[in-house]
């Protein structure tokens, strides 16, 4: 997960200013977001936890404070699920697990599950993604797609004229069902008969399982805690900057790097909240001292600054107002850097 340019900025600042508080801060900011998994009993929370762990996220134990919540449910949202989502205090992603069993008609289970997720998302307002945790585990855990299982899949493929699973031992058959299930077996056999090797199979499972979309969504939703972290981290620095040796800290805080990092984090928050379309705010990390290339559009930065100032003055949440102000500051800095400032 990318924690934005500020971590690098802070690290550089810590080195330059020789300020122990800054290095602590940069360490805090580098710490990845903690994901808390909760949800309906029996829906596969443990499997989802395992998937996210193997994808490199930090997953907290149940009941431990987290930055982003993942709510696991299956089939459809019950009244309890809706209540839990409505009461969630963390930015949350709802995950429809067991999506590989959502129905074998029409476009297949994942498409059915995705359509259901869209429906549920429009009624709850919580980003909802389908996931086949079983397949995601199979994709990431080399212990699942071991030679034994691959061999069994090969065997199934070879009997394609009249697939006779009875030729497999009972243990293998049980393993196939338990670790791949129907959808996984069907896709795996098809892939193996096309000559896929274990790596290709893992890639296929990863793509089928929908885990990438879930992780992308967690990352998107994580913009808010990241921004909060950044703001919280910078707040004590302001106090230091008025101290005896505060001039350097103040200079650092007012520097382009910090302002632009805040702008990027704030833009992420507004994008994640759906306030602005993705890509509205172009990445603006400009190496210090370098004049950016002329984009051809004169004063786009100024225009963006004006429009976000207007936005921040409008009827928006306090958080979004703060984000708007950060974006305005960043855009104005970019505008000045582009040497268009009179």
């Amino acid at each position: 997960m990318d924690d934005g340019p500020l971590t690098a900025v802070l690290a550089a600042g810590a080195a330059a200013l020789d300020e122990p508080a800054l290095s602590r801060l940069s360490a805090d900011l580098i710490a990845p977001l903690r994901v808390g998994v909760c949800g309906r009993p029996g829906a596969g929370r443990a499997a989802v936890r395992r998937v996210l762990l193997s994808a490199g996220l930090v997953v907290t134990a149940p009941g431990v404070a987290a930055d982003v919540g993942v709510y696991v449910f299956t089939e459809s949202l019950t009244r309890d699920d809706r209540a839990a989502l409505a009461e969630a205090r963390l930015p949350t992603v709802a995950v429809l697990n067991k999506a590989d069993l959502a129905g074998f008609r029409g476009d297949g289970p994942m498409a059915i599950a995705a359509a259901r997720c869209r429906e549920l998302q429009s009624s709850t307002g919580v980003p909802t993604r389908p996931l086949a945790a079983l397949l995601a585990v199979a994709a990431s855990d080399p212990a699942v797609l071991d030679p034994e299982l691959i061999g069994a899949l090969q065997q199934l493929k070879e009997g394609s004229a009249g697939v006779n699973p009875a030729t497999l031992s009972l243990r293998i058959r049980r393993r196939l069902l338990a670790e791949l299930d129907l959808f996984g077996i069907a896709n795996a056999v098809a892939a193996v008969s096309d000559g896929a090797d274990p790596a290709a199979l893992a890639a296929l499972f990863r793509q089928l399982s929908g885990v990438n979309a879930v992780i992308a969504e967690i990352d998107r939703v994580g913009a808010l805690p990241r921004y909060r972290r950044l703001v919280d981290a910078l707040a004590p620095l302001v106090g230091q900057s008025v101290g005896p040796d505060g001039a350097r800290v103040a200079e650092f805080l007012a520097g382009d790097a910090v302002v632009l990092a805040r702008r990027a984090a704030a833009a992420d928050v507004l994008t994640a909240a759906g306030e602005i379309p993705a890509g509205e705010i172009p990445a603006g990390e400009i190496p210090a001292g370098e004049i950016p290339h002329d984009s051809g559009e004169p004063d786009t930065a100024l225009r963006r600054a004006i429009s976000f100032q207007r936005y921040a003055r409008g009827p928006v949440a306090v958080l979004h107002r703060a984000c708007g102000a950060d974006i305005v500051r960043g855009e104005l800095r970019l505008w000045r850097r582009a040497a268009r400032c009179p």
């Binding site: 829906a43 089939e75 019950t78 309890d80 699920d81 074998f104 069902l177």
Partner: protein, 357 residues
Amino acid sequence: MSERPTILVTGPALAGVTAVAHALQVRLGPGYRVVEYLGPGERSAIVVFVSSAAAPMADADAALLDDAAADTDAVVGAVSKIDVHRTWPQVLEANRNRYPHLAWVGVAADPQIGAVRLDRLAGAVLATLALCGRERSRGGEPAPRSRAARTLLLRSQIQQARVHLAGQARSLSVSLRGELRHEAAGVPRGGVDAFCSRAHRRSTQVAAEFDATLSTALPRLVGLPAGPFSASAPPCPALESYLPRFDRPRSDDRLAVLLSVGFGLGVTFTVGRSLAYLVPAWWPAVVAGCIAAGTGLIVWVVRTRSLLAERAALDRWSAELAAGLRAALDDQLVIQLLAAETALAARSGIGPSRDRT
């Protein structure tokens, strides 16, 4: 009970309720009635609670089951979609641990893989029904309970009829009002009496129409042969007593005449003086002509104003007439419903006099 037993199939959304209900109806045949919703006052002989094998029952599902099973002990739990959810035995076990007194079976009513698996559910339903039937015959049908159920049924039927028919009365009177107001806006001079009598005729017609609806729909709604129960009803007040009379507007006639005369005289003088100035040689003819024209104008304005006043009064009267008609229809409805209720209560032996014994 000679009626075929009603089997209520219920459960959370997407659990497969519709598929199970359909398959069960097909399997059990026309001797049983399988429904997903109970009508007002209806009771089911047995409840089949469908829960998906995707996960064990959630608390909200349990609340749903408690609601469905509130007035019956005959409940069969069905774990659906066992064709795709391989772990259904564990789910079934979890559900059984939660509700140990229910019979829990797995079903695949609309399978995507393999054959329909419904035999055990059908067996469990029939066994539970037989068990309930035995218990009932052993203990005798508990009379107060069935009486209470019948009262409930009767009451809800009457209420339904009330809502339905009151809506009809409202729409009839509203449409009459619209019709009359539309006509009143175009009443010609001297057509007031004709309009009034036509309006009265239409009201009588509408009342008769509603009466006909009552005497056919009401017995059908409460399940009685048409007609006879209304004999005991007290007579309804005559329709005429509800309808207001039309009074011609008088008060502003004099004022209208005064204003019209002023207007006519003003026009006469203005036009006369202008013409006399333009063609001084013709002044006697101009004076005569202007007096004639002014008099004509006065008469026309007076008549037009009185016609407009009459139309406005007719418009108001139409609304009053419709309101009167509405009151008449409502009274008629209440009286008829009361009579129907009395007749029904007497027929099913749940009248207040029986209750007191």
